[in-house]
Symmetry: C2
Subunit: 222 residues, 2 copies
Amino acid sequence: MTETAVGPIRIVLADDERMVRTALRVILSAEPGLEVVGEAASGAEAVSVVRELRPDVVLMDVRMPEIDGIRATEQILRTLADPPRIVVVTTFENDSYVYEALRAGASGFLLKRADADSLVQAVRLVARSDSLLFPAAVRALAAEHGRAKPAPPAWVARLTSRESEVLRLMAAGLTNAEIAGRMGVGPATVKTHVASVLAKTGARDRTQAVIAAYEAGFMNTD
Amino acid sequence: MTETAVGPIRIVLADDERMVRTALRVILSAEPGLEVVGEAASGAEAVSVVRELRPDVVLMDVRMPEIDGIRATEQILRTLADPPRIVVVTTFENDSYVYEALRAGASGFLLKRADADSLVQAVRLVARSDSLLFPAAVRALAAEHGRAKPAPPAWVARLTSRESEVLRLMAAGLTNAEIAGRMGVGPATVKTHVASVLAKTGARDRTQAVIAAYEAGFMNTD
DNA sequence: ATCCGGGTCCGCCGCGCGGGGGAGGGGGCT
DNA sequence: AGCCCCCTCCCCCGCGCGGCGGACCCGGAT
C-alpha cells in the first residue's frame, strides 16, 4: 500500500551469470511498475550496490563468488535500516541453502525455471508484504533448525569405528553381554571398548556416555 | 502458464464467518481473471464443495466448526487427484497451526489483515505455481518438526513429582548418592524412587530409563 | 473408620559394571 | 626393522546398582 503509490518497484539483480541477469532484466523491465535499477555479479558487489541504490527488492542468487547469497543477505539485512525484501534464487528447491536463507531473513524463493508471470508476481507480492507467504513461525522454525545442530563435539571424531558401534548399542540400552552377542565378539572385548568410550567421552559410567551420545546428536547420525 | 489461457482462476472460500467470506468475495470478484465459484462455512462443507466444484484455489480458514481447516486441507489433498492449491488464512502469523498447515500441504498463508492487492496477487501466484514461495525443503522442515514431537509417552504423566525429579537427575548423569545429596534425602529413598521410575518406564536399568527420558523429549521440558 | 498411594527410610543379596593390569595379533607408518 | 594403533581376550577386585522385603507417616478417597 505504501510503495504502490510512490512509484515503480525498484529491483536489483545479483547473479554471477550474465545471461541470467539479462533474462531477468528483460522479463522484469517489460512489466509496468517494475524497474531494474542495478545489477551485481558477486555477493560483495550486491551488498555495495544495494547499499547505494536502496532498491525495494533484490533477486539474489545463492551461489556466487566472494560472498555467497546467504551472507550477502545477512549483511544487507543487518546493516541497512529499512532494508529491501530479498528473494533468493535457487536451482533446486530442496537446496540445503533454503534453511540458511530463511534464517538469514529472505522473504521468498524463486526457482530458476520459474515462468515469467510467476517471477513478476512474486516480485510484486514480496515488495508489498514481507511476511505474507512466509509467516514468522516458518522463520522461527528455520532458526530453530539451524541452532539445533551447532556443535558435534570433538570426541565424536576420535572414536574408532568399533567404539562408535559399541556406543550406539550402549545408547540403545544393551548390556555388555548383549552388545557382545550382537557384535559377535567376547564380553571382555566389549568391556575394553566401553572403557575407551568412557575415557574419550569423559563419562564416568555408561549412563553418562549415553547422555553424551544424545547431547552430541550422535543418535541422529543414522 | 497453463491455466491462464484456459480461463479464470476458480476460487472456493471456506470460513465460518459470513462477513469474512463476503469481504473476500467482493475483493476477488472485482478482479479480472478471478472467479469465486463457491463458499463453505465449515471444514466438512469445504471438502464436499471442493470435491464438487474442483476449483483452482481454496482460501481456507484454520478455525472452523466440525473439521478444522488443517484436516480439511489434508482430506482434500489426500483424496483428490489434481487437487487445488490451498491457501490457509490465519489471524496471527505465529499461529501454531502454521506448522500443521505446512505439513498438510498448504501452498501459502494469508493474514486476515492483508490488504486487497496482496490477497489478489497471492491467489494469482499460488494458482500458477505451488512451490514457488514454499520450497519442498521448507515443507520437509515442517514435517520433521511435526513428527519430532508426536508422542509424549503415557508413562510421563504417571510419574510422581518426586520421580520426575529423580529421573531428571538420573538423566543428568548423577549416581544415586549424588541425587540423594542434591535432593536432601537419604540414598535409600532415591533407590526407591529409581525403582519406581524403572517400573513405570519399563526400563531394565538406569541407562534405559535415561534413554526413555530422552526419547520422550523429557529433557526438553525445562 | 478403613484403605490406599505417595514419600520417606532401612536392611540384605547378587550381579553387572568399571578400574587395573596383562597379552597376543594385525595393519599402517616411518 | 621398528613403532603405534586397533581389535581381541583374559584375570581380579571393588562398588554402584537393582531386586527383595519390611517399616513408618501422612493425606485423600471410600
